[in-house]
């Protein structure tokens, strides 16, 4: 079943994520992908994550299709103007890529080339609109395409906004993304399930599948780092304590992730597990969560 079919079938979805590195070495990434191949519906491939220059998302997404894994091609507006973005999408299609996750992208100052010119010709919303336009057979300028793609566009939402204005704005933008053609949402990592539930209640009416984000907690330090530096992520103190107290960090990490996945099963249409290199633990997480 393709990712689009799974989505439309209403089954509980599982997606994972790989991030290409700096250089041409893709061996271990392919190995990681192989481990989870049979347990996930699709794998996201990040686009120069955190504005750090890396191997491109399109190339690695293509490698995944070769392995029989369905990629979700992440595309940001940071580095390319509308010409390059449209062209790359057409290229992706011919390379067998069917799913696109449209993002605005981090600012270059966050990465390792802080003085690069930020492009942001299109943002996540206008990117989605453009994908829709390509799907309808035209480019942004209204020129007809010869050979038309049929991408499944998705988008992201950050449910953990830390104030009312930020949350209202996230939800308004989510609506705009839906209007612009987003067919599914993947979220920022969820740790505070109660808060997430409140968010879900507010967006239920949108009737667009939401895939809840899960980041494997590797250590208490990582939790604290995220609390401080990642907007919208809040690891509750008891979870941090669990990580501090444990002797077997991997085991505990899996246990916590599984617990979250279990609860998310009743709240949304899937989970997006970001293992950050611990891909081999994903099967265990899913096992423990009875998936």
């Amino acid at each position: 079943m393709s990712f689009r079919e799974s989505l439309e079938s209403g089954k509980f979805l599982v997606t994972a994520e790989v991030g290409p590195g700096k250089g041409t070495d893709v061996e271990h990434l392919l190995k990681d992908a192989d481990i989870i191949k049979n347990r996930v519906d699709a794998v996201n491939v990040t686009d120069l994550q955190s504005s750090v220059m890396r191997l491109g998302s399109m190339a690695f997404s293509h490698l995944l299709t070769d392995m029989g894994i369905e990629p979700i091609f992440q595309m940001t507006g940071r580095d390319r103007n509308r010409l390059a973005l449209q062209s790359d999408l057409l290229s992706a299609w011919v390379l067998g890529i069917r799913n696109v996750l449209a993002l605005t992208g981090d600012h270059p100052t966050m990465g390792d080339h802080p003085h690069a010119k930020p492009v942001f010709d299109l943002d996540s919303v206008s990117l989605l609109e453009m994908i829709n336009k390509l799907n309808s057979g035209y480019d942004m300028a209204g020129n007809e395409l010869k050979g038309v793609p049929e991408f499944l566009p998705g988008a992201v939402v950050n449910p953990g906004a830390d104030n009312e204005a930020a949350l209202d704005l996230q939800i308004m933008k989510m609506e705009k993304k839906i209007e612009a053609g987003a067919k599914f949402f993947q979220t920022q990592a969820v740790y505070d399930i109660d808060l997430f539930e409140k968010f879900i209640k507010r967006v239920e009416g949108f009737k667009v599948p939401i895939i809840g984000g899960v980041i494997l907690l590797k250590s208490a330090g990582m939790a604290r780092f995220m609390n401080k530096n990642v907007a919208g992520v809040l690891v509750p103190t008891p979870l941090i304590k669990e990580m501090t107290d444990t002797k077997d960090k991997v085991k505990k990490s899996v246990e916590i992730a599984a617990r979250i996945v279990k609860r998310l099963k009743n709240l949304c249409q899937g989970v997006h597990i970001m293992a950050l290199g611990w891909e081999k633990t994903i099967p265990a997480v899913l096992d423990q969560a009875d998936i």
Partner: protein, 222 residues
């Protein structure tokens, strides 16, 4: 107003080495307001360069003067004799002023003494904020008079990126998330629905841009 900031004296000193007879020329509009191009700054720089020249046995003279705005040929006309008497002009004006000088006096070297930063305003003494990028397509009517093109680090037009923490931008950590500001302002004006308007895509101008007003040109021609 155009916001400029003075270049360091080191840079100016390097630039003016062997420049010959020099005119230090102030610009008493935007640049003076930024404490970078008024009579006071002119006096300071001229004195400093005179000392620098003396130190390196350079006998050439340093003159100084100011004009109201260096971006107007008419004002520059008032200093044409002084410029003619010099080899080089150190202009304390913004990029527009320096280039107007270069156009007016094509056989003189025109050196910039300031860095031109942006269009903005003084927020407090000694602090200026960028307010407008001159994108050429104003949308302030939709955003309660707060420009996301300029004041959002990513120039987003359809809402915030989600990176703000505690209302503060994740890129410019001393600035509020401008989209949250817009949100509050629109809410105050009972105009929150403006945020839900059709997605925006900006059409970028071609540089160098030009404004041509036919109505004015026709009057001028008579």
């Amino acid at each position: 107003m155009i916001i400029v900031e003075p270049k360091s004296f080191e840079e100016i000193e390097q630039m003016t080495k062997g420049c010959g007879r020099l005119l230090v020329l102030g610009c008493e509009t935007c640049s003076a307001m930024c404490f970078a191009g008024g009579q006071r700054q002119v006096a300071e720089i001229a004195s400093s360069i005179r000392m620098s020249k003396k130190m390196s046995q350079d006998q050439t003279e340093v003159l100084d003067d100011t004009v109201a705005r260096q971006c107007e040929l008419e004002f520059l006309d008032h200093v044409k004799d002084k410029v003619a008497a010099c080899n080089t002009v150190l202009s304390l004006s913004c990029g527009a002023g320096v280039q107007t000088m270069a156009k007016m006096f094509p056989d003189r070297r025109i050196l910039p003494a300031v860095n031109t930063k942006f269009i903005g305003r003084a927020t407090k003494r000694g602090e200026w904020m960028e307010m407008c990028m001159a994108c050429g397509d104003c949308i302030l009517e939709r955003t309660a008079g707060i420009c996301p093109v300029t004041r959002c680090a990513k120039g987003l037009l359809n809402g915030p990126c989600g990176g703000a923490t505690g209302g503060i931008c994740e890129v410019s950590k001393d600035q509020p998330c401008v989209w949250q500001e817009i949100y509050h302002a629109l809410k105050r004006l009972n105009m929150l629905h403006y945020l839900k308007q059709k997605p925006q895509v900006k059409d970028w101008p071609v540089h160098p841009d030009k404004v041509v007003r036919k109505d004015l040109r026709e009057v001028g021609a008579t």
